[in-house]
């Protein structure tokens, strides 16, 4: 209790990292099968301090520091899940999950199906995903499209502190493998928390998007950090009389295509915004799904994707800034789509 009160800033807001911390704390307390493992999660309090205080409270058995051996510890986490525990496996960033991706896909995602439902794998893989600031090409990749491609996984991408808390609690309680994509640049961002989010049983369902801002002229679909960018762009456009409906996906797989379609049938225009690369990405999938469904006939213009630039992430600030969607890019793309 003391820890969660402390998490509230003087403004009554909570930072994303503290919301994640609270979610894990509550779930560790609720179910003794839950445990956290990863690099620096215990004695260092987490590389990004997301697991601060947890080792002190729960000890070595529940909060485990691993050596720098992703393939090995991810396999160990999956095996522990198969044998009845409920691990939270942290990747210091999702870039390192590539070393372990076989365990995530072949050992975790596919097992329930291959065993015809006999063997479940209740595991959460979590960590920061996508671009950070100045960490260059090998540490900046977005894995949303990679993991969301695979049946057997659920892929979640929270934006706000409330998203983070509610979705992480759902992910931990889910009996299936969940890939939980956080964002390092969002960890320190404070958000208002609703009354109900303070309950220890507060969860947000996986697979439902949220309309963050109602609008009538264009549907803007996005996830993670870019929800902030889209809301900022929407505020600017509102001054020009353009009302954007901003949809925060919250979950990448399964994609809440119904919410998107209902919105497109209202606005007749669709713009997707993401940090990941364009080809075969989240935006590409949304466009394809909308084309195949009832909303297509309502479109007055082809859908537009706003994405990261199709290059490995450069280091220099000016280059990095221009590798990712900026608010001005979103505004320009929306106007172009609306032909204004």
């Amino acid at each position: 209790m003391a820890a969660s009160v402390r998490c509230f800033l003087r403004s009554g807001k909570m930072m994303v990292r503290d919301a994640l911390n609270q979610a894990m704390d509550e779930e560790l307390e609720r179910d003794e099968r839950v445990f956290l493992l990863g690099e620096e999660v215990a004695q260092y309090d987490g590389a990004y301090k997301v697991s601060r205080g947890l080792w002190k409270k729960y000890g070595d058995k529940r909060i485990i520091d691993t050596p720098i051996t992703e393939m090995g510890f991810t396999g160990i986490a999956v095996g522990a899940a198969m044998a009845g525990l409920r691990p939270i496996c942290e990747f210091m960033t999702f870039n390192f999950s590539m070393q372990a991706i076989d365990q995530v896909i072949n050992s975790a995602a596919k097992t329930c199906y291959m065993s015809a439902g006999r063997q479940s794998v209740p595991i959460v893989f979590r960590g920061p995903n996508g671009a950070s600031a100045g960490v260059a090409a090998q540490h900046s990749q977005c894995f949303a499209a990679w993991y969301a491609h695979c049946p057997g996984l659920k892929v979640v991408s929270p934006w706000s502190a409330e998203d983070a808390k509610g979705l992480l609690k759902s992910a931990i309680r889910d009996d299936n493998p969940v890939v939980f994509l956080e964002n390092e640049l969002m960890y320190g961002v404070p958000f208002e928390m609703s009354e109900e989010s303070q309950s220890k049983d507060f969860t947000i369902p996986i697979g439902k998007a949220k309309v963050e801002r109602q609008g009538t002229h264009v549907t803007v679909v996005t996830h993670s950090r870019y929800v902030s960018h889209c809301l900022d762009a929407a505020a600017v456009l509102a001054k020009e009389g353009i009302e954007c409906e901003v949809i925060n996906l919250r979950t990448i797989r399964p994609l809440d295509v119904e919410t998107i379609e209902a919105s497109v049938m209202k606005t007749s225009h669709l713009v997707t915004v993401e940090g990941g690369w364009p080809q075969f990405g989240v935006g590409a999938e949304i466009c394809a799904m909308v084309m195949e469904g009832p909303a297509f006939n309502f479109l007055d213009a082809p859908a537009t994707r706003v994405t990261g630039v199709d290059i490995p992430m450069p280091y220099a600030k000016i280059l990095e800034d221009n590798s990712l969607p900026q608010i001005k890019d979103i505004i320009a793309s929306i106007k172009k789509t609306l032909n204004v």
Binding site: P67, G72, V78, A83, A116, G117, G152, N176, E292
Partner: protein, 390 residues
């Protein structure tokens, strides 16, 4: 006089074509148990080795014989069905290695845990699967142990985590199971098997590190059958002392063709683990008669003479049979009866496996998730929506 009477009975039985139970001698004539001298294990970072004088009871012997024979005949039947194209895809057969699966199971409990790679039919059986559901899985029928969804490499039972297709991936998984045992404090242990080919995988060394660091109750077992697919151990490993490859983890090199050797070594390792000392490594020196899989004739990288020599001198079933017969623990007829009974079980299972229907198409999308709401799955085109139930 008793002998004459028995002989008469036997002759009568033969005349009547009776398949069964009249033995030449009564069970009271058999030795109930005997002590056997077994090969000493090579040890690594250990002060003592498993015992070389071991006791086997008649009942144990008969059980090991039956189980090994069942695995043998089941695998040979699978060979047949594969050649008839009734089994498709991958099929990695275990004949020759039976003493490993049977010996290991004899050294642990069913409440312990086990995981292996794709040469898994034998283990699926020793861990509690029936021949019927194993064969029906191979033929892809609804009565298969994974309802036809998994196939040869993906069979599961209680405390048996498959059947794994990706070489080496099962080893960290097995250590994870051991972590769960330690976490839950249930005094159970986890056996993780891998082959000589997999033994060079990096993730296995990552696993050794964590298992030793955290003293996990894990037994790592390398089934060294001398060939990783078509590559001999000499051509793939800088060090072929697989029992030493765990470095700081104590190891044993065991005669994998002798079920008693395997059993003794497993018991030794299990005691070590259960006492909280951490993991142990075992290398079982064994041999597969078949090629790597049914696609591999198995004679391009080894000679037929070599295969014949192993069959002639080291066959695990023959070894056990000779031991039992020469120690008066069973009769030739009794063992033949077991053979007949096993053959029948396999025939019945094969009959089921070839006549049971394939899984219904309605099941196509089921079991993607566990304990989850029903969901809709896109079919091959936008107008096909399929249902998935967990």
């Amino acid at each position: 006089m008793l002998t004459n009477f028995s002989n008469v009975l036997r002759v009568c039985a033969q005349r009547n074509g009776a398949a069964a139970v009249v033995s030449a001698r009564t069970y009271a004539d058999f030795t109930t148990q005997a002590t056997f001298e077994i090969k000493k294990c090579d040890i690594h970072k250990l002060d003592e080795a498993p015992a070389t004088q071991v006791v086997m009871t008649r009942d144990e012997g008969l059980k090991y014989y039956r189980v090994m024979q069942t695995i043998r005949r089941m695998e040979l039947k699978a060979d047949q069905l594969y050649k008839q194209k009734i089994i498709r895809g991958f099929c990695h057969l275990y004949d020759g290695q039976e003493a490993c699966a049977v010996g290991i199971e004899a050294g642990i409990n069913l409440t312990d845990h086990l995981i292996t790679a794709y040469r898994a039919h034998g283990y699926t059986y020793t861990r509690g699967g029936t021949v019927k559901e194993i064969m029906a899985e191979l033929t892809g029928r609804r009565g298969g142990i994974a309802k036809g969804k998994g196939g040869s490499m993906h069979m599961y039972t209680k405390n048996f985590y498959g059947g794994n297709g990706i070489v080496g991936a099962q080893v960290p998984l097995g250590a994870g199971v051991a972590l769960a045992c330690q976490y839950q404090g249930n005094n159970e242990l986890s056996v993780s098997l891998y082959g000589d080919g997999a033994a060079n995988q990096g993730q296995i060394f990552e696993t050794y590190n964590m298992a030793a660091l955290w003293k996990l109750p894990a037994i790592f077992i390398c089934e060294n059958n001398r060939y990783g697919m078509g590559t001999s151990v000499e051509r793939s490993a800088a060090s072929t002392d697989y029992y030493k490859r765990g470095d700081y983890i104590p190891g044993l090199r065991v005669d994998g063709m002798d079920v008693l050797c395997v059993r003794e070594a497993t018991k030794f390792a299990a005691d070590h683990c259960r006492s909280g000392k951490g993991p142990m490594l075992m290398e079982l020196q064994t041999y597969r008669y078949h090629g790597h899989s049914m696609s591999d004739p198995g004679v391009s990288y080894r000679t037929r003479e070599e295969i014949q020599e192993v069959r002639g001198k080291s066959d695990p079933i023959s070894l056990l049979k000779d031991r039992m017969l020469s120690n008066n623990m069973a009769s030739v007829e009794e063992l033949k009866e077991i053979d007949v009974s096993v053959r029948k079980e396999i025939e019945d299972a094969a009959q089921f496996a070839t006549t049971d229907p394939e899984p219904p198409l309605e099941e196509l999308c089921n079991h993607i998730f566990y304990n989850d709401a029903d969901l809709e799955v896109r079919g091959t085109n936008p107008w096909t929506t399929l249902k998935s139930v967990s």
